[in-house]
């Protein structure tokens, strides 16, 4: 029998019993939806955790001086960024050089010790906080040496009675006046948290006016951060960076590495291992739902075969082969599986949106959801429909004679 006719018969069978077909598709949809929702929650949870714990560090090379060895090669320099940029080129998304220190600061009240962050480059990958008052630094301001600063939310709250009043007011750092141009909002990630009680300044301004540490030359930084486009390129980028920095600082390969490369990726892998445990748990639950749905669907199909035995025998008396009947029932399962997947993906997306809005559970809705639902639903439908279909195919055509 031609394929088109097989499809016609399968669609006819589905559409002439719409309520039963809807129930069957819903059964598969419920199972597929649970798999898709579990996938969405896991993906959302993973992304959220990664963002909260590591921020941009998850895909960054963080280069600092290797303080465990005393050598003549010194800390990294701001100029190293350019060399790194030239060699790593397309792998790099952003870069920054940081100089850190502590200072005594005073706003419109008492003095407090605060942390100073002198930066040049793209600081917002690490200090990724919204600006609550005032404005952010421009690229030109960061490259310059003006005595301007931005305050972390906690620092602003300590130094000023009303943080909003800090904007435009001077803050005295180690007794030297500096104009506040903006105040950050609350930190939402662990990486940003360190800037909450800090003062952010242009790198050169910090070196020139506020940094009292004597061990760093003007061009030297405590930390270089190179944010990569893809986390997977960290290992390769690290090797390249080590080679470049050794060359720039004249450190031979035979010498111990003069710089340390912060491997946040290792921590990330550890976190992912924990997440994998949760993944297994959630997938176990979702799989049980899928199995329950498949059993329910199989029961429906088996019952349908029993009630349609004479119809099947009549089809066979009209010329259908057992294989035609088998194929027709398998096609029905396939079509209902696709319908179930559509329902499942829709339910998962709807529920995902709901739980995300109501309980702030992170949910990542993406095309893989639909694929997970499609695979689950079709797989369950075809697997559970196989036995009833084979029973239908084995029906005796002689049953057609019996009314």
């Amino acid at each position: 029998m031609p394929l088109w006719n097989q499809i016609y018969m399968a669609v006819w069978s589905i559409t002439t019993r719409p309520i039963r077909s809807c129930l069957m598709a819903l059964t598969l949809g419920a199972g597929a939806g649970s798999v898709a929702l579990a996938t969405a929650i896991l993906a959302g949870y993973g992304q959220q955790m990664e963002r909260m714990v590591f921020g941009a560090y998850a895909r960054s090379l963080v280069i600092t001086e290797n303080t465990l060895i005393h050598d003549r090669f010194g800390p990294p320099r701001v100029s190293d960024l350019e060399a790194l940029d030239q060699e790593l080129g397309t792998l790099v998304e952003a870069r920054a050089a940081w100089r850190t220190g502590f200072a005594e600061a005073q706003g419109d009240g008492d003095r407090y010790e605060v942390r100073l962050f002198g930066v040049v480059g793209d600081y917002q990958r690490e200090a990724n906080m919204a600006v609550a008052h005032g404005r952010a630094f421009t690229r030109a301001e960061l490259a310059g040496a003006e005595r301007q600063c931005m305050l972390g939310a906690s620092a602003a709250a300590r130094l000023f009675a009303r943080p909003a009043d800090a904007v435009g007011a001077p803050v005295r750092i180690n007794g030297i006046s500096c104009a506040v141009i903006g105040v950050f909002g609350p930190a939402e990630t662990n990486t940003a948290e360190r800037y909450a009680l800090g003062v952010l300044l242009p790198f050169t301004a910090m070196v020139r006016y506020f940094d009292r540490s004597a061990h760093l030359a003007p061009d030297e930084a405590n930390q270089l951060t190179v944010v990569l486009l893809d986390r997977r390129s960290i290992s390769a980028a690290r090797e390249t960076a080590d080679r470049i920095l050794r060359r720039e600082h004249g450190a031979p390969l035979s010498h111990a590495a003069p710089f340390r490369f912060g491997d946040e990726n290792a921590s990330l892998r550890a976190m992912n291992r924990q997440r994998d445990l949760l993944t297994r748990l959630l997938f176990s639950i979702a799989t049980i739902s899928m199995i329950a749905a498949a059993i329910g669907y199989g029961g429906y199909t088996l019952s349908a075969v029993e009630t349609r035995r004479r119809d099947i025998a009549l089809q066979m008396a009209c010329g259908a082969l057992g294989s035609d009947i088998l194929f027709q029932f398998m096609l029905e399962s396939l079509i209902l599986g696709v319908l179930g997947a559509a329902i499942g993906a829709g339910v998962a997306a709807g529920l995902g949106f709901l739980v995300s809005s109501l309980w702030d559970i992170p949910v990542a809705l993406d095309p893989s959801l639909a694929l997970a639902a499609l695979a689950g639903s079709i797989g369950a439908g075809v697997a559970a429909g196989a036995l009833p279909a084979s029973r239908a195919a084995a029906a005796a055509p002689a049953l057609a004679v019996k009314g």
Binding site: M1, P2, N5, Y8, M9, W12, T16, R17, D311, L314, Q315, M316, A317, C318, G319, A320, L321, G322, S323, D324, A396, P397, A398, A400, V401, G403
Partner: protein, 196 residues
Amino acid sequence: MAGECIAVVGRSGAGKSTFLTILGLLDQPDAGTVSFLGEDVSGIPPAALARRRRGRIGYLFQDAGLIARMRVLDTVCLPMRYAGRAADDRKAAAYKALDAVELSEKANRRVEELSGGERQRVGLARALALGPQLLVCDEPSAALDEQTTGVIGRLLSDHANRGGCVILATHDPLLMPIADRMIRFTNGAAIEEAKP
């Protein structure tokens, strides 16, 4: 047998329906041999049996044997669909068969919306649509009025006159006259009798 109409009679339970089932290649006998168009088909697999009957054998069952939710047109097209006939051919042949049983105006109705007589006529249209060499009818007029029985008798007779073979299990005196020969089932034995 071609061009003949054979009546099969006997008491209930005598084995008429079983005989027709085997004759129509819907089942295999427990013993003995079955020959169809000169070929011994005893013991061949169900799929091979189905291929032999495809397009060659038509059936008219006691209760018409229709699928209740199917449209009349689709019902008549069903054997042609399985025989692999093209859609246009199918439709033309189906309307021709429905014209013959005077039901073409109900082609788009569902079978379950038809009366008993109409269903039996649709069943006959389905059986005749492919022009089968053998038409097997099991008590086709059991629940029909005289007029419908007459229509069915005429169509069966026409089919035999066109060279088809009609085998008919019936007790209906209105259908008996169309039979050329009669086989009576008594105590498990089939006895051929003269023309009724």
